[in-house]
Symmetry: C2
Subunit: 334 residues, 2 copies
């Protein structure tokens, strides 16, 4: 049964993935993925995957986008939910969900190469799954993210897909964002993300693209070269409450940015993470203004530099490119 | 001139390393390190490095451990220190130091293969440099760390060395530890690290080694498989105030752990980071009990798993091995 454990000093929850638990000799094994010719995510190979949870179909009844449970889930919905302590330590049942969103029936590797309508369906699928999972009383957060390419944790199977992880705890980075945004709101009575968007639209030097209600910017203090954030200009805290008419414009700007990253930076590995407000607000008084002070967005991080190990241990990043130059470069149409 | 920029939402400082600024086409270039036969860190090749800052010599006057400035520093001591804001953004001069500690004159790659006396001299060297740098009014922290192996950011030159980065800001992870430890201390009036050590010595299941005043444990909620923390049993907040008689026992336990990691896990890349209290306490009232509530330690993290990209974006880690099993495995003598 998977466990969640809390670091007693900094309060960071970690999944101890016992279902995947490896013995020391199992690390660094050769990848045992099926050869590309037998990709389990392609149309016609549905029998190789666990039963479908959700799908979007075309006019002929064929699926376009499809959600399946992970074969090796980090978290599970079985067993009774429990929490306990031991000395200074806290742990709880690793309750949750781990799902895979297959983004196309064709064997296409990079989301940058999908038609916008598929990307739109992927984001719609995230919303549907989030709204469904929200009903579970123990789940606080759904993380939607993509790992593309080996160096970004994407594995060796080159079929465009992303993942949903539903957790019974709020993630550390999300908490930090909520706290930072709350602190700013308490003083200024304005959303820090809205202020940031206004600043970037005025200054323009880190703006990559502004289109149909969305902006793409290189953040002022990026962790990685060519990091890009995509934000809705209209204030909104919860991604899964996005209007249906906003999905296509969102997909369009995401596709444009991913395609520029692919073309201008030589098809690098990348990750994206959807940052959205959590479902449950542990302290109603504290979180009561969350609708006003948090602003959902997508963070896209290409993997262009070697791993600088100490950054993991310190939260201190060294970015080897000027954000303003990165933005200028990414403004180029391709 | 290097800059430090602060993320306005979560308050994380990032170095924008303009001295290293790369154009997009410069990423993923082939490493231009000299061939191993011309290693600049070996005895006899001192002329290839910048002038020495500090060294420890043997009886014949030959250096054993040597500190040199980085050829491509992230931070510099030149120019006048400045801070400024622009809209919601804060930035400051990237003032600081970036030094390389060459750990042996021989061409030995892994610290695990050095004699204990050399490792002792390396830790002594950290202390000397920290105590010296502490006098600079703008410097708040010195980060001592090691990247070993390509996947840990160690580059291609296989000569055992570590780095010191002196910064005018406190690092995010260090702040979090200080705040977490302070919170615990305020309630319990005990150091959380001391409590953790006692718990581990009682439970024994995550204890790897206890020797001459130091313990090596696998933490309760590790981010990485086979992560190991080494802590002094005697409470102490500042690494650079370590007693000279404690340096050899520290070097000895570090060597033992690094050697076991090398032998038992097939010589993996790894990082270590020395976690110590900052020099300056920005709010004297707040930090006044820092000597009581913080406890220096060294965190060693082998790189055994593929990069799971979303962990960068969320601070949410998935560890694929049980800490108790990792500890049991590392208790094996080799």
């Amino acid at each position: 049964m998977p466990q969640l454990r809390k670091d007693p000093i900094v309060g960071r929850w970690v999944i101890i993935a016992t279902e995947r638990a490896k013995r020391p000799k199992d690390f660094k094994v050769v990848d045992s993925s099926p050869p590309e010719s037998e990709c389990h995510f392609c149309r016609g190979n549905e029998k190789f995957t666990p039963p479908e949870i959700f799908s979007i179909k075309d006019g002929q009844g064929n699926w376009r986008v499809r959600v399946i449970p992970s074969k090796r889930p980090f978290l599970d919905m079985e067993n009774h939910f429990w929490k306990k302590g031991k000395g200074p330590y806290d742990l709880m049942h690793g309750m949750g969900r781990h799902e895979v969103v297959v983004e196309t029936p064709e064997h296409i590797g990079n989301m940058a190469d999908l038609e916008v309508s598929y990307i739109r369906d992927v984001f719609y699928t995230y919303c549907v799954r989030m709204r469904e999972i929200e009903h579970n009383e123990h789940i606080k957060y759904v993380l939607a993210f993509k790992n593309y390419g080996w160096d970004a944790g994407g594995g060796r199977i080159k079929h465009s897909r992303s993942q949903l992880i539903a957790t019974p705890v709020n993630l550390k980075r999300v908490k930090e964002e909520l706290q930072g945004a709350k602190f700013y709101f308490n003083y200024h009575e304005r959303c820090i993300f809205c202020d940031m968007i206004n600043q970037e639209l005025q200054q323009k030097e880190r703006l990559v693209l502004e289109k149909d209600g969305f902006v793409a910017i290189v953040p002022f203090a990026p962790r990685f070269p060519f990091e890009v954030w995509i934000l809705p200009k209209k204030h909104s805290s919860a991604f899964c409450r996005i209007g249906e008419q906003e999905l296509y414009p969102l997909a369009n700007i995401v596709k444009t940015i991913l395609y520029r990253i692919k073309k201008l930076l030589n098809d690098p590995p990348y990750n994206y993470v959807v940052h959205t407000a959590p479902f449950k607000r542990p302290h109603p008084g504290y979180w009561s203004t969350i609708e006003e002070d948090y602003h959902w967005h997508i963070e896209i991080t290409p993997r262009l530099t070697e791993v600088a190990g100490f950054e993991w241990g310190t939260g201190f990043y060294i970015c080897p490119s000027l954000p303003e130059e990165s933005a200028k470069f990414l403004r180029e149409e391709v």
